[in-house]
């Protein structure tokens, strides 16, 4: 027998659909790629800088579907611009809308400036793109990118859905996933040609650090969530979560990176590309399974009472 009123849920089921996790995944990957590219550009060797340009392209490309996905999920897509009629950073949704609105043109400008510098973009547009202050774009884009990668988990957590709100670490988890998939995207396009082994090794080291961090913070998230995590760890979403997000998305890439660390040439390229693909797919599996399991969790009366209990908060 339920403790509450019949077995009725205490909170409402989120109305969001697949567009939201898809946007979190792509936006996070774009942000992670931009940050990785900017790090390579500013701290790396001449060879490292060669992967930065590709990173900016990846970031710009991944951002293309983001705004349309967000608009499509609204109940009234024709009113999407109402998000920007006020500035209200207290609302993660408002903060995210402003961040995406400012980061997208910046990432495009930075990618265009790279295209101009390699001669890909010519004519008046190229001349315009050459005017972009690259250093400033890298710094500002880095900060905005980290905000974009970091707010999505906090947004889900700023609700009363037990699975999302119980632990304090969902924001950090999504941030780590974004950075892992973003750096993986940079590796993936770097693996296609002409980049020296040393640079690829550095990229895989960074990816490994992100995946290991993600693993650690996920462990913390599961421990803090306790019984509340059941809709994620058991049942319908356990396969995409354990096999997709954890197995393919974290453990396998970590293993492949270890092997790749001692390889060179073609073997290194294949291994690092395979690992990158796994990380990117795992990142989607993580967002999707936590997102969907959250809907199940919202219907769990006992978990809601535990979340809003008087003792021990």
């Amino acid at each position: 027998m339920a403790e509450g009123y019949y077995d009725y849920p205490v909170v409402k089921r989120p109305v969001w659909t697949w567009e939201v996790p898809a946007y979190f995944w792509l936006g996070g990957m774009a942000a992670g790629a931009y940050v990785t590219a900017s790090l390579a550009q500013n701290f790396g060797s001449a060879d490292d800088r060669r992967v930065a340009g590709g990173g900016y392209y990846v970031a710009a490309a991944a951002l293309v579907p983001c705004a349309p996905l967000l608009v499509a999920d609204l109940g009234r897509p024709d009113r999407f611009h109402h998000m920007l009629r006020i500035f209200k950073p207290l609302s993660p949704m408002n903060l995210g809308a402003w961040t995406l609105t400012s980061f997208t043109p910046l990432a495009f400008a930075r990618a265009a400036s790279h295209a101009a510098s390699t001669g890909l973009l010519r004519g008046p547009l190229g001349a315009l793109a050459r005017l972009v202050p690259t250093r400033l774009a890298e710094l500002a884009g880095g900060v905005l990118g980290l905000t974009l990668a970091g707010y999505s988990g906090v947004l889900l957590a700023a609700t009363n859905v037990p699975l999302w709100a119980r632990s304090k670490l969902l924001g950090g988890l999504f941030m780590a996933s974004a950075l892992a998939s973003g750096s993986a995207a940079v590796t993936l396009q770097a693996g296609r040609g002409g980049v020296p082994d040393a640079t690829l090794h550095r990229l895989t080291t960074i990816e490994s650090a992100a995946s290991a961090g993600e693993m650690a913070i996920l462990t913390g998230y599961l421990v803090q969530s306790g019984k509340t995590a059941r809709p994620l760890t058991t049942g319908r979403f356990s396969a995409p979560f354990w096999l997709g997000a954890v197995g393919a998305g974290m453990l396998l890439p970590l293993l492949l990176h270890r092997v790749a660390g001692r390889r060179h040439g073609r073997a290194l390229r294949s291994l690092s590309s395979a690992a990158a693909l796994c990380t990117i797919a795992g990142s989607l599996a993580l967002r999707w399974s936590i997102f969907e399991a959250g809907k199940v969790s919202s219907e769990d009366q006992a978990a809601s009472f535990e979340l809003s209990g008087g003792a021990g908060r």
């Binding site: 009123y5 909170v11 989120p14 500013n42 609302s91 700023a158 609700t159 750096s183």
Partner: protein
């Protein structure tokens, strides 16, 4: 200059604040007639939700929602579950609590959700873009978004307005007006709170030992969401009525959550800078 800008942009001055109004729902008086549900639907022109039978006592409404702004609960208790009486029926007309610190209002990215001059929480239908963030933010599961393809105000968020339109004309909200037992009382908050305390004293003197108020400024339920502008006299624990013991306000833990997120981001930037910087 600001005035000129306001005129140009057609920005109205907000109305001057009035004495806070609200509901005191005294569940000990409720007879479960559902007049409030009907009056609310009728005045606010809310569509019917269908004729599904839940099998849970006389409650075939089920939940508050986008088109159901009053919901009468029917709780059947036998001696076995500790009511002290052989058998009792608890009835309660649930409604949006118009929280002093409203999670829905804080979540809203468009400013559609506002606090009115009466201290109530209101969705401006012409502003809401149906982002849906208020829906899981509310700790009471009150507000909901209508289906995108429905016939009634499709795709935007809806909940009790505390009859904002009627208040503007000094009228009592439809539910309180129709309640035949004064279980739903409408008025100025201070007055309602005094009535509630008096009524609680009466019931306790009569031996209703589990009676309590829910949503008063000194209650533990007000710790995060603040006092409720629609508050209740209950005859049992809040959980019995599906009410959280301490409803959560997401803002309270947001800084910590952003903190973890930022720590991960800064950590990654440091690792990246070190790895790229270590050449050779």
């Amino acid at each position: 200059m600001i005035d000129a800008y306001r005129r140009m942009m057609n920005i109205e001055q907000p109305p001057a604040p009035k004495a806070a109004r609200g509901f005191f729902t005294d569940t000990s008086l409720c007879i479960g007639c559902k007049a409030c549900e009907v009056a609310c639907k009728q005045w606010n022109q809310l569509p019917a939700d269908g004729f599904a039978m839940t099998g849970n006592s006389y409650d075939n409404t089920g939940h508050l929602g986008a088109t159901t702004w009053r919901h009468v609960q029917f709780i059947e208790q036998a001696k076995a579950n500790g009511s002290g009486q052989d058998q009792r029926w608890l009835m309660m007309s649930d409604v949006c609590k118009h929280c002093a610190n409203a999670a829905c209002l804080e979540a809203c990215p468009t400013g559609a959700l506002v606090r009115t001059e009466y201290g109530t929480v209101y969705v401006q239908q012409d502003i809401c873009n149906g982002c849906g963030f208020c829906v899981p933010a509310c700790p009471f599961g009150v507000i909901d978004r209508t289906p995108k393809t429905g016939h009634f105000e499709a795709g935007t968020a809806h909940k009790c307005t505390l009859c904002y339109d009627r208040l503007k004309d000094d009228m009592t909200p439809a539910c309180a007006k129709s309640c035949p037992t004064a279980s739903i009382q409408f008025g100025e908050i201070d007055e309602l709170r005094a009535n509630a305390r008096r009524r609680l004293g009466e019931l306790q003197a009569r031996g209703e030992s589990k009676a309590r108020l829910y949503g008063m400024p000194d209650g533990q339920e007000a710790a995060e969401v603040g006092p409720l502008h629609a508050f209740f006299l209950l005859l049992d624990e809040p959980k019995t009525y599906n009410l959280p013991e301490v409803p959560r306000l997401p803002r309270k833990t947001m800084a910590e959550r952003y903190g973890w997120s930022a720590a991960v981001g800064i950590g990654f930037a440091l690792v990246g800078a070190l790895v790229f910087g270590r050449r050779g």
